[in-house]
Symmetry: D2
Subunit: 382 residues, 4 copies
């Protein structure tokens, strides 16, 4: 019976902040060990990263296809691959590892095209391979608590959703023409690397997924207005949404809203109550029954539902943040993989991480938003 | 040279909360005295109100047309009338007083139809009569501070607006059929009394006006989704907006958002900075320059601009609220009327209160939102 | 049966902000009318104030003793006097009016010496005259709600108190020698006018009273450290307190704490729960049961207890501030005086305003704090 | 030239939450590896922990003295030991490792007696061994930013300090007699294990250290009132403090304050400005210049000073919490140890972690607080 896992990584070399977050997250519970990688298309960086993590040099690959094949062939090959590379390589990398029978833990968005996303799902289904799309905010304990409360009917039927994800860090790009190549996040503004959208793809997709995770609601259609402000891709997006069942809502994502650092705020309104979660203060949840005072739920207290509390690490009032949300993604993922390897039956609860269906929904949402905006802001099916 | 004013009131009898707010607001500076009224269509209530305020009984009128004529004919007739009655009588009452040469201080929304609004403006212009539409949130010192900062270019060019006005008090009306007649605010849900909209008309119109007051921007078009939830009029509205000049934004108004008491929040984003004002904590203003820390401006401090500070009454940290915002509406109005009566020249600054142009803009906004929603949520010119 | 009252004022001329607050507060319910005054020791200012309020010129007095006698002698004399003058005249003015049989509504602190305070109480008791000491924060609806919840046992037995009143406005006085005469509030730093303490007397006394009002607890002893920073009186004070019954706590008052405008925050901790009120956001109350989420109570909601709700004017979410707290002080006071005049029996609930016992407690507290600090910060009986 | 470190741990077996936090923190940068341990006095637990971390079984010790000797004797022996055991063993364990020449990273409080603390310092000094006392809140980026701003004179001379650390989790212990043995944290209430104080020792000591770290000020004397509420040790403490140089302040620590989870709040007031940090929202810092608006500094922004920013891992608005603060403690510690091992010169900046002087100051503070309270709350030298 296996108790430990080994994994490989594509992308995420030493200077890429998200790679480090994945490695810390995967290692949080000392169950998974980094054993192989293809960290960068720059060979020097790739080697340097492998050396820093003291990997066997033959398991540091210059080519991800070679890596997929070689690791699949080893008796001690990796149990899964983490894809922490830019958006445009998600699809081919994921496909390569799936085809070689290796489970995939992939950054979001899953890929560019709906057809690609569905292809990945088909392969994974055929081979029976687990796949996690890293909508990492779902790793937050209080996001899970929101989901549990809504599932239990605490707020009644959802009637309205108001969610936003606001940042200010690209405000200087406004009106300055095509500067896709000269800043740190420049790849995000380059359609060839980032896909059809910058702002909706990068952060708007978190709105869509977090709302879906909390409520279980599917988006039906969207009216979107994207502002490029002279760039190739969008920096700002305001959207009206309609869910299956008829509930309406608003999604706003922006990278030009001064005063907002990383402001993902989700408010779900129901017939009996409401729930609000603010990513920058993630250890609390505002929970209100109609006619009653707003309550501030704290992670770590006895009243938190068991399914959410299962992911809580520290006593109440001791902040857990982004690393711990990532760790929770890997907690669920690693445990599920161990069970699978050990031949244990996986329950729905074991699979509490976003999967290819969520990844497909995300691609559909991004595509619909871009399409709506290009058509002048008309209602577009998701 | 006159130093005091007398005014009359239509509507606002003893049991109407808004009437009392007007009377306290008008009296705050001890310049204006209530001298006449037609407080209620119920003769007993009308008389009781006149007696409570110790009015001359012959100046308590059963009919507002009679009041307009009689007061216009008296040597000591009222200097202006306050209209604090339900929406459907704003137009005929305002018209009656204007036609008798009496300035009008009218609750919002101004009236139901654009043509009515334009007619009132035509009469007022012809007779040279001042007219205030009581968008009372513009009376807040920190709303004025926001306006001044934006005028001075503090936040650069406005590129995005995110404003909402959320309440929960009608959540129990959802799915309960037509209950327009059986609750306190039932008239607001009755189209004959409230007009084409409940939620957009009552509170959404404050969003439109507060944004316009702060930024000077005009709405160009709107896409709106109104939810009636089984009532005759809307209880919830999500809107995308476009301003002249091209800036986009989102307006959300709702009376079914549990956990929100009277949540008017306005956020204006510019190329150089941003400003946020929250009505429930009205004595502060969040002001941010791009790349810099958010600053919390407090009313009453020396750094507040003179035009806003001119309306500040109490030292910093001593909360001023809704009554004081009303008082500020009357401060500007009363001072302007005294200047006019005394033959002094009125400057733009003297007229710092919403006028008939603002009232017309409000009616146009409500009409466009309703029209857009009825057409399935398409872009509609304002 | 009388329905209206008339009152006079000592102090509070046109340029004194607190005088205006009293006049607006007294007039909020249109029951009490200003009819006489001795507004300033400066005759010109005194007359100007009387003229502005259109008083009968013979009822504008240059001397408060003359005023007390003359008003007592008039058939239409004032029903009560409001003392809005600096601290040093509270005692002689209050005494003069009490001796002439006129009820007194007096600013805090009541007076300088315990003996003076007890003398005022003796006179008022002998003559059966109502007396209100204007600890105006007790006029806040949510302070009353705190009192009701604590009375009802919601938080169990009080075990700890943490209360502070922090301002920054005198920070520039630090280390600049005796500047008692050259700033707006200079009288507060002059022992002859302000008494034994500036900071504890002006704002620390509000801590003591608000805690006493909420909890019903009496202070037993205090250890205080007052910092004068080169001024004649204190600008900063940190205190440990012990209540009768054994509960401990901390009181901090300061006028040199940068970043704090008018920060009165009271936190009462009990064996079963806790309550927190913050003056700068006065329409809410934080209420927590042990082991449960903190709840944010809003003024105006149905769950507010009737005794507190009786003082609520506006719907929930419509901020009431300092003027409304003053208005509530006068609501209770005016109603009690009308009942008394009309020969009705007054209940304890009718007398929901701080009286001479509270005033005496305040003087005792200030004296004990100053005495403790002078003795090097030792425990001193209150 | 060494690039990696190995460490051992005393205490912190699998079921002790703090052990896991240390292990994650030490491993955050993939520089230090757990190689030896004496995790529990329970042999089974000790072995289980060693096995989980896949340690060489001969390096899992039943006895910490044996571990110190054996590891000191190995060529590949540990580079330092982490002490994550209860308070009462800090001293003997630290002494054993120091005497064997092994650097120590020790949980706070350092030990029970001042003499013990000074003995540890004498040994460490004689042997030239680094020693970190894990006042982990100093690992927060924004605590470091506060320190830098104060060092740079941003708030002028410190004149007043108001700091508190409030929790509710022991409120049920009130009045229930000696229950030292029956709850999770029972050892904290047992003087034999926890020392002279529970509440001041456990959390009050963090107040003392965080204030000292931010300001550089030394405590001179304290007046303390500790409440045991029927327990053997204190559950609540209110203290007045005086710093060398004359500034005064208040420290409050409590484990019975309902509504407070882990509320360490530090407010430092100076002649020119003020700084406030709240542990439960650790990524921001409130910074105010006198007369100016309060500013909300966010970790990760360009305006953060380089010395603080050096410890920032994630982009602004991505919360870092307790694990990351621990990681920062280890970042500084691990880097300093590598430099030392590699014979590089260590600067003051390299030693940015609390050392034995800080540990001694902590023991002195706890002793003085307990002594003051036992003497009836009199001023006691620290």
């Amino acid at each position: 019976m296996r108790k430990y896992l080994s994994y490989g990584m594509v992308g995420g070399s030493l200077n890429a902040f998200i790679g480090a977050v994945h490695r810390v997250g995967a290692a949080f519970e000392s169950i998974a060990t980094l054993s192989a990688g293809c960290f960068s298309t720059d060979s020097g960086r790739n080697r340097a990263c492998g050396e820093f993590y003291r990997l066997d040099s033959e398991r540091v690959y210059d080519d991800y296809i070679q890596m997929a094949k070689a690791e699949a062939a080893r008796a001690d090959g990796i149990d899964y691959v983490v894809i922490a590379a830019p958006n445009n390589v998600h699809y081919p990398v994921a496909k390569a590892f799936l085809e070689n029978g290796i489970p995939v833990f992939c950054e979001k968005p899953l890929c560019f095209e709906i057809a690609q996303a569905e292809e990945l799902k088909r392969i994974a289904d055929e081979k029976g391979l687990p796949f996690c799309v890293n909508y990492s905010y779902t790793g937050n304990v209080m996001v899970k608590e929101a989901r549990e409360l809504i599932r239990q009917g605490y707020i009644g039927r959802v009637i309205n959703v108001n969610a936003e994800y606001l940042q200010e860090y690209l405000v200087d790009d406004i009106g300055k023409g095509d500067q896709t190549m000269n800043t740190l996040s420049s790849w995000r503004k380059n359609p060839e690397v980032a896909g059809a959208s910058n702002c909706v793809g990068d952060i708007g997709s978190h709105i869509e997924n977090t709302v879906a995770y909390m409520t279980g609601l599917k988006l039906k259609r969207v009216t979107a207005v994207l502002d490029n402000f002279g760039q190739l891709l969008d920096l700002n997006a305001n959207m009206l949404v309609e869910f299956e069942g008829g509930a309406h809502g608003v999604f706003c994502s922006s990278q030009v809203c001064v005063g907002h650092m990383n402001g993902l705020t989700v408010r779900i309104f129901g017939t009996e109550g409401a729930i609000e979660w603010v990513q920058e203060n993630p250890n609390v949840l505002m929970v209100t029954k109609k006619g009653q005072p707003m309550q501030i739920y704290h992670r770590g207290m006895a009243y938190i539902s068991p399914k959410a509390a299962a992911f809580s690490r520290l006593p109440t009032g001791h902040p857990e943040g982004v690393y711990e949300a990532f760790a929770n993604m890997y907690t669920a993922w690693n445990r599920a993989l161990l069970k699978r390897i050990n031949g244990e039956k996986l329950t729905a609860e074991d699979l509490d991480f976003p999967n290819l269906n969520d990844g497909i929904a995300g691609v559909r949402f991004i595509q619909a938003a871009v399409k709506s905006s290009k058509a002048g802001g008309i209602w577009t099916e998701v």
